[in-house]
Symmetry: D2
Amino acid sequence: MVNVVVNGIGTIGKRTAEAVKKQDDMTLRAISDVSQNGGLRTVLKEKGALHGTDLYASNEDGKENLESQGFHVEGVLEELIEAGEVDVVIDATPPGIDKANKENLYEPNGVKAIFQGGADPEIAPVAFNADANYEKAEGKDFVKVVSCNTTSLSRTMSAVDEAFGVEDAVANLVRRGGDIPQDGRGPINSTIPVTEVPSHHGPDVQAVMPDLDIKTLAVKVPVTYGHVHMVTANLEEDVSEQEVLDAFDGQPRVRLIEAEDGYDSTGKVHEMMRDLERPRSDMPEAGVWKETVTVEDGTAYWIHMVHQEAIVVPENIDAIRAMFEMEDKQTSIQKTNEALEIE
Amino acid sequence: MVNVVVNGIGTIGKRTAEAVKKQDDMTLRAISDVSQNGGLRTVLKEKGALHGTDLYASNEDGKENLESQGFHVEGVLEELIEAGEVDVVIDATPPGIDKANKENLYEPNGVKAIFQGGADPEIAPVAFNADANYEKAEGKDFVKVVSCNTTSLSRTMSAVDEAFGVEDAVANLVRRGGDIPQDGRGPINSTIPVTEVPSHHGPDVQAVMPDLDIKTLAVKVPVTYGHVHMVTANLEEDVSEQEVLDAFDGQPRVRLIEAEDGYDSTGKVHEMMRDLERPRSDMPEAGVWKETVTVEDGTAYWIHMVHQEAIVVPENIDAIRAMFEMEDKQTSIQKTNEALEIE
Amino acid sequence: MVNVVVNGIGTIGKRTAEAVKKQDDMTLRAISDVSQNGGLRTVLKEKGALHGTDLYASNEDGKENLESQGFHVEGVLEELIEAGEVDVVIDATPPGIDKANKENLYEPNGVKAIFQGGADPEIAPVAFNADANYEKAEGKDFVKVVSCNTTSLSRTMSAVDEAFGVEDAVANLVRRGGDIPQDGRGPINSTIPVTEVPSHHGPDVQAVMPDLDIKTLAVKVPVTYGHVHMVTANLEEDVSEQEVLDAFDGQPRVRLIEAEDGYDSTGKVHEMMRDLERPRSDMPEAGVWKETVTVEDGTAYWIHMVHQEAIVVPENIDAIRAMFEMEDKQTSIQKTNEALEIE
Amino acid sequence: MVNVVVNGIGTIGKRTAEAVKKQDDMTLRAISDVSQNGGLRTVLKEKGALHGTDLYASNEDGKENLESQGFHVEGVLEELIEAGEVDVVIDATPPGIDKANKENLYEPNGVKAIFQGGADPEIAPVAFNADANYEKAEGKDFVKVVSCNTTSLSRTMSAVDEAFGVEDAVANLVRRGGDIPQDGRGPINSTIPVTEVPSHHGPDVQAVMPDLDIKTLAVKVPVTYGHVHMVTANLEEDVSEQEVLDAFDGQPRVRLIEAEDGYDSTGKVHEMMRDLERPRSDMPEAGVWKETVTVEDGTAYWIHMVHQEAIVVPENIDAIRAMFEMEDKQTSIQKTNEALEIE
């Protein structure tokens, strides 16, 4: 059993820690942080999702801090690592801190680590997406799981590219302004263009799929649950809409959403996740609106949504299995999906 | 075991049906509706919250309708009632239809029924709130569970009124524009005053607490999770803030929320419910922000929030126990709370 | 002097009526409507923008209606037309009504008419955009001014197409949910994909620019001021960014907006219009964010915004001049721009 | 003619500078600031509202800064003051800076100054509202114009208090999250209680009306145009609704808004201001929804809205007239209202 620590219990950290707990071939040894945030107090409560998990401080200052906030802290993460009780750290700390952690804590102690989408691309030799390039992470010590937007594009693009070949693609992103609890973030009534054109999301996808010709533009809007992408892809083969739908259907983490059943917006998909009683109303799948999948004159179009808080969670789990060469790609994805009840 | 049917599987109906399933002294015999809406298809799916429940049509037209939408329908609700398999119907159909149901279906067949907050006050002899007037529903055939706003005011007001006496009170309501999936509702960037002044919410509370002198005003704003009430109550006794806090703490469905722990908005309380992995991120408690509870010169002030989709769910369960005289008030509230994991 | 009546005083109607008043070569003979809406009462007030204008009823029922609402009504529009006092009607009534007006009122009486973007394409032989196809409207009896989204795309696309040739283009639209006063429209916190893919906006542009190969996708988001378009255009010539900027700069109704001056969102552009004391904070120009204009490998990218309430107003004025062959295209555009203080 | 400088050209500063320009008994000698913000560049443009006004730097650093941003700067404010060309400064700089300005610049040079609602109450001996206490500012060197919320409460409360006497009052505030251009401010989908209970707005009103017994609570919501207040006031006299309406009607800066004419929300009132072609769609009046004015059992209720950007502008103008004893209260209010087209 691989011993896992999640360092940084924010939006991504708390979810990946819970996901690790649900696997049968890895153990959540501990979580660590430096202060109360992102619901640390709540997830550790009696009915919280991480109740009973050992809490470590990421560093000495953090220990003092957490204890002054009333937390019971088992010790400092470095001690746990030095005691040989940690095989891999999922690092979900803010950009910059992740790099320092790698250099000062993980690398010197010979502990593997997984970093998140905001990390510097140089932090790891692999930009990871399970379906697109699982094999590249096999045996690696450091892996970066790409961002939520990149993950969704990698999933949908790799499905179509593997099936029919993509000549070139344009994806335009409509990003959420902030997450549900992020009251401090706007805008309230405004659309904000990303003035870096084309945006960084294209090159980000190319870190996963180097041969893909993709350009992206982006704006930010006042919603809290879900980015939406509008995609236009010129295909190498002449295919039917049904074939494209089949390619998405065969992708293990793409969900086809039927607008005609009433699920014709991000708000309604959010409600679908509530009706499925998914924890936190999360949707780890990329959701492609079925009715938007269209092919005309060799060009495929579709619109998909990305639940920004959840989509990378299963990827972190698969990254662990790849790094320890525990399972092959198909088996790992299937195990993770079953444990997380991804259909 | 009391056999329960929930008629009308919308926002309230789907939640109360799930709540009935979680009790050990009543059985969800069936659900009924007339067409796909409010996630009927999703809750009946393999991973849906009501998977496996018998689906009946509320009437003959509904049967045809549902079958044309691909549902397996066991029959028409009237048949099930006539077969003697229904003890009580939780009616969560739209106002007007509930009344017709009472007159044409429940009353003629001698079946008890519970109605919801939107129903005509004349529909039942009791306007019900478990904590405030459980006993009044004992043995009754028809009970109306009051609306979300009224429920929250009844809970907090009865806690304070029973402890110290309320001379008179002003409560001003900031209502949500629509629920999470209700994209068709606005406003987008506007505050809408309720021009009926004082608003109907005061008399609604008085249906539960006839001796309370309370006046209310209301506005509507562009949020989807939670109404917020600002309350000013002149007390009959001179008390301390701690005593008011204790009164709230002793109310079994009021939750004290600590803003200083980071829960200083409805969005952050929503996240707390997610971190507690409450189904659908629901909060059936009324949430009083602890820091807002203040007493000055015999006047108590507080601000509380109401999760409009969930707060009446436990009240429906208690109403069943009262109507069948299954348990006394305290026991019923405790049983419901435990089953629904209300702390 | 051409005598103009504006029929239908809603969002577009009230603005075009005001614009007609500001021209020196046409007269606002009257406005007409059937009931109070869109601020009819306010614009006719002492300080309102249309104070003193003759109000006619669009039909007999409307006359009764308006009079019962306290308006002074000069008569019924048909009477004014029959008296020979109307040369052209700007019809800004809802789709369907515009068609009936044409068939029953304008055509039989030999009066010219201009219709708006929501009208059936068959209503007029010309889909009009001043810069793109002014000449096609010359001498015509019926002209349709295309919608706000189409107008903005026609302006930017024709600027680039005339200068360098556009091989093909993708434009993805982020539409506003409703206008400032439309409280009844949502969504509050949701992004809604247009499931018609590609969307109708591409063919709409082709009604103006038949040879343009353009595909569009669209979503709707919770903002009230401005649509935003993300555009990718493959050019026939290899050009520099500066050349594309110059092409936009030369288009008389495209405004280059500098994000680096602080105008990096639709909300901030709205404020710019307020600081320029534009009437109603309107922006009749299409606004291209200068920093987003990029050329890479023969592909041009840009992001522009559209003030949905105002952009078609100057087009209606130019349509009148074309239909009566009063001025050539350049002169008409210049006269309209000066009168409306478009820089 | 009194020579006025406005120091700090943000939301309040730019509007008061424009208002000064519109008076016939004072001169806008100059504006001053330290950097581009709040549309400084735009208001000075050819079509901007302050085109042609002399721009000074508030200090030496500001001069360098503004010049590096391409502005033509006449000099440093202190020089202008020392040259004897300034009689009064309207200081609309951020809190803290205003105090330093008073101590280092205005007081030593014997220049009068007016401060804004965010300033420390100690900054001036008078908390000013024209209708409520004009006389107290007569002859004073330093005056603080109270905040937008306080101004609206002072106007409505003084109208009712002067007419009938207010025993005690509760006002609950629903505040906007940010102004139109403030994209960086949230919340997006959340209601935020002000945990200081009762809130500071009550004592703020008492700075203007020391004998008024008023308590306030407040929340913040995701809208950009207008705060809304729900008010309950116990009166000393038994009066009719019409008498209260008459009292509001007689207040020179309260506007009665008719919901039944379609103006039943802040968004629709915003549109009314656009239809009146008010500069920037501003509403300097407090707007009381007529239908909400109710009297029951000696208690008056009403709901009013506050355009947070504009309401204090006329108060700044009247403050100047009071400080220089140019006119009596009624004359000053009337002159200001006429110049600003306040009906």
